[in-house]
Symmetry: C2
Subunit: 221 residues, 2 copies
DNA sequence: TGACCTTCGGTCATATACTGACCATAATTC
DNA sequence: GAATTATGGTCAGTATATGACCGAAGGTCA
């Protein structure tokens, strides 16, 4: 049957309600501790109905993670709009990265655990692949920035793009992981930003030999 | 089956959607010209579904009319809150009456036709009874005000309450009908209010012998 | 006038959506 | 390691929605 608008709207509403209820619970209590029944209850649906919209508990989790990461990825694409200078793009990227994960620590924690212990996670092959692919899309943004810097003559043509990308990625994750996993959770946002800024500039200089101009105002939004 | 909240909410939503779609069409094009199919279409439901919520086209119409009148009746009850003086209550009643019908001319038109040509309307006995009963509830508010005036000593005890009530009711309907059914639809709201005011005060004086104080500010909202 | 056509209120068999008791299995308890 | 509990996933049963269909009423035309 041809679905009319109302029906479509209502289906989407149900889907959203399930995802919303699930997201809250997963991020509060972790994948394991949350039951499908409790998701259903919160979404004001029965368990059976949840399974009409998603084929498994894991699929719900997957859609939440992948959707969140996608939203993040989309935001990182802004860096190409805001500036024509590669080093500024990298700074902008770092800002977006920090913003996003400061506002969604649990997602970051999950992804970190995923990346660090990929073998021990018992997600399906399917979800693993998706997560890796989606994560890579984001990592590649960094690579693109370096490539852009080379093309524009801002960076020397002989730098190792791949290695540079990994270094930046590692720096960002390192600082934020430190923040999340050590006892230093209360480290102030501004502190994180400034340590990332310093590390970033140093790293860019080391990788490319380019002296990054000291623009202290840059991070102000 | 025990209906959970979501189900209840959604049922109410459907009902509201049908009534909303129907109300608009009935008041724009009249009872006859509107088809159940078009109501259903506007409410984004099928004709069959409309009949799950209402047992006939007339029942939909009935609920709309009765509900509108009930809302009106409720508002007229305010008169007992706002003042302890019967003549002011009558003025207040007139204000509410005018306000309501200026904002809902079609309902008024329908009721007028109903009252004037009750025999020619082909509503069911059921709806006729309801309409009359509901209308009477409102007329009785006027009667109550007169009774209150007598009890408080504001009006002489020997006035004919029933007759007074009918006179007021007639005055209000007369002025508004004139406005609606003659070519003078563009007569300004303020004009109607002032002609009702003058007529009302004169009528009260004639009926009760009480000189109504000339309080020109009364009607300001 | 009466045969034909159109329209529309109302019905109902079918289709879609939702539910929660149930099942198999894995975790936990004792 | 038997017994109990907890939970992901299934499915037969129920509730809700749909639109093709029917009959009556009114209109049209010869």
């Amino acid at each position: 049957m041809e679905l009319n608008n109302r029906k479509k709207r209502e289906k989407e509403q149900r889907r959203k309600a399930i995802l919303k209820a699930a997201r809250k619970q997963f991020f509060e209590r972790g994948f394991k501790a949350v039951t499908v029944a409790s998701i259903a209850r919160k979404a004001e649906l029965s368990k059976g109905t949840v399974y009409l919209y998603f084929k498994s508990k894991e699929e719900i989790y997957a859609q939440i993670l992948l959707n969140d990461i996608d939203k993040f990825h989309e935001r990182t694409l802004d860096v190409f709009q805001k500036s024509g200078i590669a080093s500024e793009m990298l700074r902008h990227f770092a800002d977006v990265y920090i913003d996003f994960f400061l506002n969604d620590r649990e997602l970051f924690r999950i992804l970190m655990i995923f990346m660090l212990h990929i073998d021990s996670m018992k997600f399906s092959e399917e979800l693993n692949k998706h997560l890796i692919r989606t994560t890579n899309k984001t990592i590649n943004v960094i690579e693109s920035i370096f490539q852009y810097g080379i093309d524009k003559g801002e960076f020397p043509p002989d730098i190792n793009v791949r290695q540079s990308r990994n270094a930046i990625w590692g720096l960002l994750n390192g600082v934020i992981s430190l923040h999340l996993f050590t006892g230093k959770e209360l480290m102030r946002e501004q502190k994180i930003r400034s340590s990332v800024r310093v590390g970033l500039d140093t790293l860019i200089e080391g990788l490319t030999g380019v002296q990054v101009m000291d623009n202290k105002n840059f991070s102000s939004k």
